[in-house]
């Protein structure tokens, strides 16, 4: 397993992390996918499960329920707003965020969203709550945009997070990604995080790395996955090596096991 690359988050850190990424990354083959699916199938669960870096970092202790809050809603709204800003340069961020939020509400009102979705929650929320979501999303989008502008070369806001359905295991893996930097020989993915990195931050990044590789049609991993904690002023990077992919996959299976055990304890 490669060592975590640690950088203070200053004006040049993103550029350094992108430019110093390895020239090539590991590739997952069909055998790797089959082996991973077999391991997940060996951990059966009563319901369909979704596993992401947060499940791994919290070692299966994360709350099983979920409720929308302005802080939980900010990333989705901010990412949609960033796509608007990228698509139409010069659009004020605040206007883009408002438009993105209005779009969510309009989709809910025309029946295009399901119960419990962000759009449904925003539609039912009062105007002050929606304004607070705008405030939160501006902060998130501003931090993302600042990171993007600090790196040389082209960057994109990915169309969605990376998802991978594990064959026959009723399991969906999710890898978050906020920015993608294209470079010769591969891509570097950046993920923004709130708070400060804990002891399991590296494990979380490796999970995002392996899901990004699984979601790629050719199984090619990003050359580096960078986690950015603007609140703490720290950036961490994990290289796309086979050892890191293996470690990430092992942690995902362990998280499935821990979540299943917890469900059984709660049910008993």
């Amino acid at each position: 397993m490669s060592e975590l690359v640690v950088e203070p988050y200053d004006r040049g850190s993103i550029a350094r992390l992108v430019e110093s990424a390895p020239p090539a990354a590991a590739t997952l083959t069909d055998d790797h996918r089959r082996s991973l699916a077999a391991r997940f199938r060996a951990v059966p669960d009563t319901a369909h499960r979704r596993i992401d870096a947060w499940t791994v970092e919290s070692a299966g202790r994360a709350p099983l329920g979920f409720a929308w809050t302005p802080a939980a809603a900010r990333r989705t709204v901010a990412t949609a707003a960033l796509r608007r800003v990228v698509g139409c340069p010069g659009t004020p961020l605040r206007d883009a965020v408002r438009d993105a939020l209005d779009d969510q509400v309009a989709r809910a009102r025309t029946g295009q969203t399901r119960p419990g979705s962000l759009g449904t929650w925003l539609d039912a929320a009062g105007a002050p709550v929606r304004a607070l979501v705008v405030a939160e999303a501006i902060g998130w989008a501003g931090a993302t945009l600042e990171a993007a502008r600090r790196a040389p070369g082209p960057w994109t806001v990915p169309a969605s997070d990376a998802y991978y359905d594990v064959a026959g295991a009723r399991t969906t893996l999710r890898g978050r990604r906020d920015l993608e930097f294209a470079r010769e020989g591969g891509r570097v993915i950046v993920r923004l995080r709130a708070g400060s990195p804990g002891a399991s931050a590296g494990a979380g990044l490796r999970c995002d790395l392996v899901v990004a590789a699984l979601a790629d049609a050719g199984g090619i991993a990003p050359t580096r996955l960078v986690g950015l904690w603007p609140e703490a002023g720290v950036a961490l990077g994990v290289d796309g090596s086979m050892e890191d992919l293996r470690a990430g996959a092992r942690d995902l299976v362990r998280a499935a096991l821990a979540t299943r055990r917890r469900r059984l304890v709660l049910a008993a």
Binding site: Y9, P92, G126, P128, G139, S196, A232, G233
Partner: protein
């Protein structure tokens, strides 16, 4: 230190300053300040490894850890929280009809601390009306002082920071109510504004310096200005951030850490 009561729309003007007069960003001071802090932390804590990190907030610097200010009361905290939320709504150009009800609505969505929410829910109608009037008065002062925040500024609100010092034995945490500008610009544009519902005093000056220091350490770029607005009195203090201000803040933080460590 500029300490003055300004006309209603001058707070934002004072924060951004003259466009032509903005200096180049200082990207070299952060490392020196961090080194001074790390050295100070190691002198105070020695080899000790506390079970939980020593937490430092802006409020830790406002008053001695052994004294409690009138505004530290639970009711004062509720009022401060609601006014901070109203600032966030105002900064994004929200149409605030009833400041108290709107702030409570937004606060509930955030998932507030149960003891503070319980305090509001337990108020009888007279006390609730008194708190609502109080919050509305602070909001009126705030909006008059700030004026409209331009959409193009993309002002961030409630910007949090959490910095580890002394190998994680000390955590310096901060929340700045309003931030404008970007640390990535070619000139120094970042300005920090803290809004308080208490009158400004010596403690407020220390908090103002603390915001500037934490922002410097967080982004490795020295912000241009740090300011504080009291919605109780309308007083507004604004200060250009320079080497002297940061040095004094390092001294403040180490002094507070020393007191907190002795009190453990």
């Amino acid at each position: 230190m500029t300490a003055t009561t300004l006309s209603p729309d001058s707070v934002l003007d004072a924060l951004r300053g003259e466009r032509a007069a903005r200096p180049a960003p200082d990207t070299t001071s952060a490392a020196r300040r961090r080194a001074e802090l790390e050295l100070g932390v190691s002198e105070i804590l020695g080899e000790a490894v506390p079970g939980t990190p020593v937490l430092i907030y802006a409020s830790s610097l406002r008053a001695s850890p052994r004294t409690r200010d009138l505004h530290d009361s639970a009711r004062g905290r509720v009022r401060g929280t609601l006014v901070s939320l109203l600032l966030r709504l105002h900064a994004v150009g929200a149409d605030v009809g009833d400041p108290f009800d709107d702030a409570i609505c937004a606060w509930r969505a955030e998932g507030p601390a149960p003891e503070l929410l319980g305090l509001v829910e337990a108020l009888d109608p007279d006390e609730r009306a008194r708190l609502a009037t109080d919050v509305t008065a602070h909001y009126v002062t705030l909006t008059r002082a700030l004026g409209e925040v331009p959409a193009g500024w993309a002002a961030r609100t409630a910007q949090r920071a959490s910095l580890r010092l002394g190998a994680g034995r000390v955590l310096a945490r901060d929340t700045v109510d309003l931030v404008v500008g970007s640390s990535g610009d070619d000139v120094a544009t970042v300005a920090l504004l803290d809004v308080t519902t208490a009158p400004l005093g010596e403690g407020a000056e220390r908090a103002l310096r603390y915001h500037a220091l934490v922002e410097t350490l967080r982004t490795s770029v020295v912000p241009r200005r740090s300011a504080m607005l009291s919605t109780a009195t309308g007083e507004f203090w604004v200060r250009d951030v320079d080497a002297d201000l940061l040095e004094r803040s390092v001294h403040d933080v180490l002094g507070t850490l020393h007191e907190l460590w002795r009190a453990r």
